[in-house]
Symmetry: C2
Subunit: 203 residues, 2 copies
Amino acid sequence: MTVVLNARGAGIGAAAQAQIYTEARTHNAFLDRPVPNTLLIEALDLAKMGPTAANQQPLRVLFLRSKEAKERLRPAMSPGNVEKTMAAPVVAITGYDLKFYEHLPFLFPHADAKSWFAGNPEFAARSAAQSGTLQVGYLILALRAVGLDAGPMGGFDAAKVEAEFFPEGTIKANVIINIGYGDDAKLFPRSPRFAFDQMAKIL
Amino acid sequence: MTVVLNARGAGIGAAAQAQIYTEARTHNAFLDRPVPNTLLIEALDLAKMGPTAANQQPLRVLFLRSKEAKERLRPAMSPGNVEKTMAAPVVAITGYDLKFYEHLPFLFPHADAKSWFAGNPEFAARSAAQSGTLQVGYLILALRAVGLDAGPMGGFDAAKVEAEFFPEGTIKANVIINIGYGDDAKLFPRSPRFAFDQMAKIL
């Protein structure tokens, strides 16, 4: 397929901006409409193109689709998040790899970036948390960009998730995202946002 | 303006996906083309709509446009980042507010969310780092979505940035982003990305 690109310097347009930002909502309930694996792959293939420090790409994702996989997650979810998570068509557990630097000879071939992190686990963990969370942001918007809806959550027991899903001990759990086609009828009202001047200044 | 929205369940289209993900690049050099303040405001107005934990919106941004403001940043940048940052049309210092919870009665009015964080500064700091970094991800893509290019960097002395720009001590520096219209002629080759199976599994 040939993609006709927008002119450099033009925005993506109001409809696309609305879909991933201004009209998009955090969904807690989803329609009974199947979510194909191809869309999950497409979303991650978009998200992975976003920038990370030294191209480290520490994001790791488990997409839970089967009932069995979701049941393994149940004991780790906060009470208010259990039912909606069990009911979501797909649940993504995002995490970041503390040993991301092992892959840097492949990911960042033009410098010895592995040596910047390998001997300094605290710095590596901080960098992985930062870049891995940027990637979660890219992923949330990418799910919307392929037509899906997302319900990201921080309310769960990370230690339990890590013990159950990342027992090797090198991946930290980050954000859990319910995924599907959102049920607009079950949305809460949108919460307020800051005005520009409350968040930012131009100096 | 009436925005005609995409059909629910349809993606934003290949051109928009290319612009913010697959064709977008991290830029180190920018064209001599002015960046209007209206676009910075538009980008942050998009980014702020992305989800954060308990709608906390801890992101704070200083957009440095004047030579004086950028010179204040110079001593904090890593050697390899100094010249390109001084030359960028606009430089955004992003940070996150450790005292975000003071605003939760406004931002999250339907529950006493302030009490979840106010007595637990370690939990609050972890949550602010996480949500504030998600918001940096939203902002990087929003800059692209309004037609700009971004050059995000982690290579700087955060303590120096905080002492100079956030002397009150409650805002932590996060990512610094050079902003402008990128000079494609000065791009480095694109670095590799993982394949889906190297980052993710469907269970």
